[in-house]
């Protein structure tokens, strides 16, 4: 595994976290 692979994995985890935060947490808080 190269550093590029680690970057892709980290970016994917961050993206998943953002998606779930946006739809499940931010959405609830707004109401």
């Amino acid at each position: 595994m190269t550093s590029l692979d680690w970057i892709v994995i980290a970016a994917a985890l961050a993206a998943i976290a953002i998606v779930n935060w946006y739809f499940f947490i931010a959405g609830r808080r707004r109401t």
Partner: protein
């Protein structure tokens, strides 16, 4: 200080139905529903995808219809204030027109996209320099015009922190488009990093074309599922012939007012509800009641709008028009039923609300895993990126939860429509689901198992009498025509049916509890029970054995004495409906326990039960007793369906798990009960139960396949079969699979339309 926002000081609640446009799947529906439920003052909101309506219960002191409409529009869907002036019939017509227009627009867009697909294929086969630009132009056309609503709705959803099928399609095609755009105008970005500048315009065009084709199929299916409702609306004639002064005027039906006198000729449809003032005819009510035999009508009888006058011309006075008419009530009842939600739907709703974010997460994870896997197994970063990208897009596309959203509502719609065709009105998804769980059917006797009106069953001439049966009947009817007793009415009715001439009555006296005496046609008559005969010193012994046998059969016998001698005996009974016995056998064959409840004494009840083929009888119960008896059955674990007349039996219908009101004529739009049996025939009970069981089976199949489709489709799209079999779905195949799953669910529901009901 204002009142608290969630509770009105009065606690007053109002209900409104708001037409909502633009919803395409369960996620859209749950989004609109959530937005409404979040509004202050709203206590209940139920959105129906198929009917495209939101039924909202709200506190008028806190919320207004305008604010509710605004809340729906905020979610990115269309909503209009319902018009008060429209009758259910006009409202349905308006909805039909809107649905037709939507279907036409969608079809046009789908065809255009189909042409774009063919053009894109042709262009990609040609090796010309302008190829990327032609494909780009086609993709822009398809995305910005044909698929515009997908992106607009996805955006609206996003701004509300929610996501639906449009989000998945928009994200998938949007990513492919942006990727291709960079590859077209800045291929160096890719080539410098060793990535081939591949174009995905074709995929974008095909995916949107397939989604549109799916939308068209759904819109067509929606129209077909509401066919039963449309058929009812089409029953309403356009014009009526009103008598004004001595003139006959053809006027639009909408301008007929209660009290107007109308003329109907043979073969014409009766325009509005009313009461016959002159003339006789046979009326075909099958379209509303499912009753195949025309019904005889004469002066004073009620007629129902939309039924067909068969044999004679008559004049009648309009009673209920517009929204109050029986047809309008049936349409309203059916519309509310179709827009209600079956409890099983909650499962689909729960899944679809969390589904889209989970799928997006899965898609991102798929991308990362594929990239790393392709890279560490020796691929260049470029090939790894391209492969990972295509797989991630396929996951987004295949996961559209459309099938899940359609699974239950399409089945409810088709089943309620099928029920109406055979004269069974099921009031909503919940009732539909409960009917299938019934284990015990409780039948009221009078008017349910029996006709509900006493009729002459036997005419016995006394031994040695020179009179014929008709003579005896005519004589009895002459005197009884002065009486209002139900037994007397039955005798008079039978004489009228046989067109017997009645003699003039010279004197008449009613003897309470015994019968009647008097002189008719010069003959001194006494008609009544044994006590009356003994008071008149008439010997009834020649007919005593026969009288006892008739009583054993549940019949009431009245003796007829003429000029001091016994002339004969007429037996009257509430006859069992011709269809009851077979219907009860059918219920038993379905594995149901059948119980008869009646206020009659044990002996009469037993004889009726025997004739109808019922083993369990509860006799001598008052209306309150019926409620207690049903509660007792329920405490024994039975799921009880009570079948009664909807008026006297209303409390028992309410106590039962399922109340089935048997209505005929104008009573068919009765408010009581969960199910209305429009035809006076117990066979409809078995049909309702069969229909419900089949519908539940269809719903479960639909949900199963919708889930299975996603459970299998998503991992396959993500490439779990790739290491073993080299199997991978392209985004295009994924979109075809998505369209197919919606289509199969709708088709499965439509099978209910042809359900064979015994």
């Amino acid at each position: 200080m204002s009142a608290p926002t969630t509770l009105s000081p009065s606690g007053h609640r109002e209900r409104i139905r708001i037409p909502v446009s633009g919803m395409t799947c369960a996620a859209c529906q749950s989004r609109v529903q959530r937005a409404l439920a979040e509004q202050p003052g709203v206590s209940d909101a139920s959105v129906n995808l198929m009917m495209e309506t939101a039924a909202v219960t709200y506190d008028p002191a806190v919320a207004t219809p305008e604010r509710l409409v605004h809340a729906i529009r905020d979610t990115g869907y269309g909503a209009e204030l319902p018009s008060d002036e429209l009758s259910p019939i006009e409202e349905q017509e308006a909805r039909d027109r809107a649905q037709q227009a939507e279907l036409l627009t969608l079809t046009r867009k789908a065809i255009a996209s189909g042409i774009a697909v063919v053009a894109a294929w042709t262009v990609s086969m040609m090796d010309v320099g302008a190829r990327p630009y032609v494909l780009l132009a086609l993709a822009i056309l398809v995305m910005a015009w044909a698929g515009r609503h997908i992106f607009l709705r996805a955006y609206a959803a996003l701004t509300h922190h929610s996501a639906d099928m449009n989000t998945l399609v928009a994200a998938g095609t949007g990513a492919a488009f942006v990727y291709s755009l960079v590859a077209t105008f800045a291929p160096r970005v890719f080539t410098a990093n060793g990535i081939a500048p591949d174009l995905y315009y074709e995929s974008v065009i095909i995916i949107i074309a397939l989604v549109l084709a799916g939308n068209v199929m759904e819109a067509r299916a929606k129209r077909r599922t509401s066919g039963a409702l449309r058929a009812l609306v089409d029953l309403q004639p356009d014009t009526a012939r009103v008598i004004r002064g001595d003139q006959e005027l053809d006027v639009p039906v909408a301008s007929v007012r209660p009290g107007d006198v109308l003329l109907v000729r043979p073969g014409e449809r009766i325009p509005v509800d009313g009461e016959i003032v002159s003339g006789r005819s046979a009326v075909d009510e099958s379209m509303l009641t499912g009753e195949s035999m025309p019904v005889e009508k004469g002066t004073g009888d009620g007629v129902i709008g939309a039924t067909i006058n068969r044999t004679g011309a008559f004049r009648y006075r309009a009673t209920n028009v517009g929204a109050d008419s029986v047809l309008a009530k049936i349409i309203r009842l059916m519309r509310d039923a179709q827009s209600s939600r079956a409890p099983i739907q909650a499962l689909a709703d729960r899944v679809s609300s969390v589904f889209v974010p989970v799928v997006i997460s899965l898609s991102i994870a798929t991308f990362a895993i594929w990239f790393v896997a392709a890279h560490v197994t020796g691929g260049t970063p470029g090939t790894a990126f391209v492969r990972a990208f295509a797989v991630a897009v396929a996951v987004l596309i295949i996961a559209c939860p459309c099938a899940m959203g359609l699974a239950v509502p399409t089945a409810v719609m088709v089943a309620t429509g099928r029920g109406a065709e055979v004269g069974v009105l099921i009031k909503g998804g919940e009732a539909l689901q409960r009917v299938g769980d019934v284990t015990t059917v409780v039948l009221d006797k009078t008017g349910t198992i029996t006709e509900g009106a006493p009729a002459v069953t036997d005419i016995v001439v006394a031994p040695g009498s020179t009179r014929t049966e008709d003579d005896l009947l005519a004589l009895a009817a002459s005197l009884e025509s002065q009486s209002e007793h139900p037994l007397a009415e039955a005798i008079v009715r039978r004489a009228t049916e046989r067109t017997l001439a009645r003699a003039a009555v010279e004197s008449f006296e009613s003897v309470t509890g015994r019968g009647a005496t008097g002189v008719a046609g010069g003959v001194a008559l006494a008609i009544g029970n044994a006590a009356l005969m003994s008071a008149w010193s008439v010997d009834v012994s020649p007919l005593a054995t026969r009288a006892s046998a008739l009583a054993g059969d549940g019949k009431t016998a009245v003796y007829v004495a003429a000029d001091g001698a016994l002339a004969g005996m007429i037996a009257v009974a509430d006859p069992i409906r011709a269809t009851s016995r077979a219907a009860i056998e059918r219920l038993r064959a379905l594995g149901l326990a059948v119980v008869m409840l009646t206020g009659d004494d044990q002996r009469t009840a037993q004889s009726i039960a025997r004739a109808a083929g019922i083993e369990r009888v509860v006799a001598g119960v008052l209306p309150e007793g019926k409620v207690a008896e049903i509660a007792r059955l329920q405490s024994d674990g039975a799921v009880v369906a009570m079948v009664g007349d909807g008026i006297n039996d209303a409390p028992a219908l309410a106590q039962a798990d399922v109340g089935m009101a048997m209505g005929t004529g104008a009573a068919i739009a009765t408010e009581a009960g969960d199910v209305v049996l429009m035809r006076g025939d117990l066979g409809a009970v078995a049909q309702a139960i069969e229909l419900s069981r089949r519908t539940m089976r269809t719903m479960k199949q639909n949900l199963f396949w919708a889930f299975v489709y996603n459970v299998i489709g998503i991992p396959v799209a993500a490439g779990v079969l790739y290491p073993a079999f080299g199997l991978l779905l392209t985004p295009v195949i994924a979109s075809a699979a998505m369209a197919f799953s919606s289509f199969s669910v709708v088709t499965n529901s439509l099978r209910l339309k042809r359900a064979h009901l015994s």
